[in-house]
């Protein structure tokens, strides 16, 4: 990116991470951990492949991303965040919180990945039964790659992957899943509109939307 050429900490930060796609790449690496090029790309629908390669190079030379040639049996290149890259977490958190209200008005053709719920979930979901057994809810929405919501001891987190023994599996259009999780949509309404819930419905009731202006 063309530098702002300003001796200002904010401008210097934007010189490094202010370009288009850059912070979203960091988001993917933060949610996935060390990842293959192709997996990063799958989490960034719309990015041009040359841009992704460019950005990864820039991030690497800025000390934010490291590149590792994994030996067999992985036998591929892995990209991960350095410590300096991890330090961007508060930045992404604040931006995400600020952007939460904007998710209330999604465009009909917006792409969706279930693991993108990780950030919002940490902010607007809480475990209404902290003393209950660990809870696993699998989410399938908008893409082939499912995610799992874990609730245990009052904490709620989201990770990529499938649940081995899920308490419930929720699948359907992103809007419906999002609406239910945000408390904007009644579960019965959502089911009536096409949401599918396998397993115990009560599992879902255990998650409570706590933030006021959630998505």
């Amino acid at each position: 990116m063309r530098s702002y050429a300003q001796c200002c900490a904010l401008a210097k930060a934007l010189d490094v991470v202010g370009e288009r796609w850059t912070l979203l790449i960091v988001r993917e690496l933060m949610l996935r951990g060390p990842s293959r090029y192709t997996d990063i790309r799958a989490g960034l629908p719309g990015i041009a492949t040359n841009l992704l390669a460019d950005r990864l190079r820039q991030l690497e030379s800025a000390g934010i991303v490291y590149r590792e040639e994994a030996p067999p049996p992985i036998a591929t290149t892995l990209f991960g965040l350095t410590e300096r890259g991890e330090q961007l977490r508060p930045v992404l958190d604040e931006l995400l919180v600020w952007g939460l209200p904007l998710m209330a008005e999604p465009a009909p053709d917006d792409a969706f990945r279930a693991h993108w719920l990780a950030g919002p979930a940490a902010h607007f979901l809480s475990d209404s039964d902290p003393d209950g057994p660990p809870l696993e809810i699998e989410i399938r929405a908008g893409d082939e790659e499912p995610a799992v919501i874990d609730a245990a001891g009052g904490e709620v987190s989201v990770r990529i992957g499938s649940a081995s023994d899920p308490d419930a599996v929720v699948s359907g259009r992103p809007q419906l899943v999002l609406g239910v999780l945000a408390g904007r949509l009644d579960l019965d309404d959502a089911v009536r509109r096409g949401l599918t819930v396998q397993g115990r419905r009560q599992a879902l009731e255990r998650l409570r939307a706590s933030a006021p202006a959630a998505a």
Copy 2:
């Protein structure tokens, strides 16, 4: 800006404030309060005037900036941050903190404005004599527009303007001023290299750099 078209809070935030110059415009409005077009521009060396006009319009329609036609004797347009715009403060703060280490290596032709010190000062300066009388130090560096460092009751802040009765006036090249404030440069060294200090030198000693990796 072209939307990322992703149903993700972070992507939605970047859709609104991710374009080039946008967050720097917010920075200026945050540091200056409601300002005239020309003054904003003075704080953004390098921006093209049509871009500033474009961005202000976008920010206005995004509900981040309001525009007010001030009546005489001001008789001009004022731009200011709405509440939604003010809520970007934590974002700018985190980005600024992350960018602080990058200020250690400024390019020789980087522009500088004294009021850009406001953010860093709040993070790496502290008042070593909290019970002392209010302190005013005027800073002149890199531009015509001076700034004032206030210290009182242990708090340090920076504002645009001149001090009516400053305890000290520091002027010189940005590098020197920055070096002294960050504790990177000894005051005597800086003076030997061209820094000018009028008034009581002790006033400067009262400010202590507290952060480790400061600029």
